[in-house]
Symmetry: C2
Subunit: 379 residues, 2 copies
């Protein structure tokens, strides 16, 4: 048996049992409301993880955040792909290559000039591009307001343009990452669903076909809401969860399937601090819990078995050094409990960001290393 | 000619002329004081960049932050390597492999129990491990205080242990990243040099050989200081510079050789904001300027030629979306100057962190793409 004690640190550890539990929870959450999940692969970027998600049921296609993901997952069997980041003409040639190879690749626009430029590029490629219009339900980033006057002319342009096909509308309730109660999440989920459906209904009322209504974020996908009119839900981070999600109350820290295995490489005895070989290169610079009631700094520290140590956090990071100490500077760590060479596991603020710092997952069942799953990067 | 207009975004752009200028500046700075530079490769992780640094003169060997860097650069011709992160027994087998292959690999310790464990591992490998003792000159991270009683017993243990060889002392004035005036940097540099030399002299006074005194950080390496007794200077980020260094006054924004090429993918007209296809995946989550007088948020925005746009910054980041706006929320951008498809270049807060998000450099001479230089990751 190969165990974590044999793994060179830092390393990205994935707990298979927790992964399975998280996948089952989301499959049940969407299935119970009669919708399908279009899982986002941007969190894991791993074909192996995606196969587990698909096996968990209630999924249809995938969502990607880069064309590199679209190309990689299509090469490994995903043929129904939503590229959920606004497209520009310079990327149409790569999208066209996927479409010609047989992928059902849907692109996203939120602007008339953008749609016109995309149409021109599509005509050059002699293709029909499936498009969704991005709707802004909570003012957090991109998209058109569901009540905006420009929504209907944009939909009409796409519907009338032979090189384009209007598939539907999509939105992402990114604002829900600020919802710290179940009631607030339920409200965000209801707002997301009803505003997206409203935008689709406005388009339909103008006599334009608009089949799909795609919504989603991990907090809203797990919240209770009336999903009448919604055709699919997208979510990504739920497969691993992280300290941001735990801080919101969407998950418990015991649900977090991802951790960074590190080794104690030094002591700062006067300060009661440990130095570990996981800095921001292994943990990422993400400080997503900084704005939450409990700031976990660069991560919550667990023993090698994955049990959180009460109030032990990564206080500071350099590139390859993590400074570990008590949450309270007045309570120095008992360093003799952590001799040099001790392995620790660090729960991440933000699973997407921490996973992105690594090339592979070390997959464990308990303490046993059962697989190494590669992940991709780049664009 | 291939130009940046042909490059898929986001992409990591390296300006060759600025790289050359930065390399020449540091070679002159250390050469004028009669010391050699042991350049840190952790910033660039690129054999191509290292070859330019070496050609710039006044260098001896390299500094690395991971054994993966040591293995990669040794395979490409670097044979004198300082691994500047505390070593643990579990990593000795890999170090031993490099030593047996002919590398002059020096390791770092700052603790007696650590040195004893390393010695045991070295004896198992039937090797003599070259070691440096890390000195803490400014309380920012690892190392032994130069005046600490435990310094001499540690040095004596290493000197007396047949499996270990005491090469010298090393320190990193990480505290200098908080020095925002030339006078403060000069003081930090003087403190770094004099305290490291003092530690070496204490060891020598105890009758123990201690040849090397290795110091360094980009701010202190470029500051004026009496380097008598110092045998080498280490620095890394100076090759690219970044907004943190510009904010300290160590460099000008026009010296920054690294930028992220991005494309405008959307407009938020009511807010006067642009959406670009460079989020934290391309820029990193590093917010190193947040504590400086001028907070550049996630980066300072330039036109495609690399000229900074006055007070235009990346205000927010999601994974693949960057929200670009004016520094002042009261001054919305004139969006018609940035049609969808417009390319921009974003100067990074922290070159090491931003470069780490990419697999290669797109090297340009002016607007012309002249090479693609790969970089490595992992541990």
């Amino acid at each position: 048996m190969i165990s974590l004690a044999d793994v060179q640190t830092p390393a990205l550890v994935l707990d298979r049992a927790k992964l399975r539990r998280n996948i089952a929870r989301m499959a049940e959450a969407v299935g119970s409301r009669g919708v399908m999940l279009r899982p986002h692969v941007k969190t894991h970027k791993s074909v192996d993880v995606w196969q587990k998600v698909r096996a968990g049921g209630n999924t249809r296609g995938i969502t990607v955040s880069t064309l590199a993901e679209a190309e990689h997952f299509f090469a490994h069997g995903a043929d129904d792909i939503l590229y959920a980041v606004g497209i520009v003409p310079a990327k149409i040639a790569r999208a066209a290559q996927l479409l010609r190879a047989g992928a059902r690749l849907t692109l996203v626009v939120d602007d008339a000039a953008q749609a016109q430029a995309i149409a021109a590029a599509a005509r050059l490629q002699q293709l029909v591009l499936p498009l969704m219009i991005e709707i802004d339900v909570d003012g957090h980033r991109a998209g058109i307001q569901p009540d905006a006057a420009e929504l209907i002319p944009l939909a009409a342009f796409i519907a009338a343009e032979p090189a384009l096909q209007l598939v539907g509308v999509m939105t992402h309730a990114g604002g829900s990452y600020g919802s710290s109660s179940a009631a607030a999440r339920a409200a965000a989920a209801q707002n997301e669903a009803s505003r997206a459906v409203h935008a689709a209904n406005r388009i339909r009322a103008a006599g334009i076909s608009c089949d799909a209504v795609s919504i989603g974020s991990t907090p809203t996908a797990l919240a209770t809401a009336d999903l009448a009119g919604v055709t699919e839900v997208r979510a990504g981070v739920y497969i691993f969860f992280d300290l941001v999600m735990a801080g919101l109350g969407v998950a418990d820290t015991s649900d977090i399937a991802l951790s960074v295995l590190a080794t104690v490489i030094g002591h700062q005895a006067q300060k009661g601090l440990l130095i570990a070989d996981a800095g921001w290169m292994a943990l990422s610079r993400d400080r997503g819990t900084a704005s939450q009631p409990i700031d976990q700094c660069y991560g919550l520290v667990c023993d090698a078995a994955g049990q959180p140590l009460a109030d032990v956090i990564v206080r500071e990071c350099n590139q390859e050094h993590g400074v570990i100490g008590s949450r309270s500077p007045e309570a120095p760590l008992a360093l003799d409990q952590f001799p040099i060479g001790t392995q620790l596991r660090i729960l991440p603020n933000h699973a997407c960001a921490t996973a992105a710092q690594h090339g592979a997952y070390v997959v464990v069942d308990g303490d046993e290393l059962i697989a190494t799953w590669p992940r991709i990067g780049g664009w």
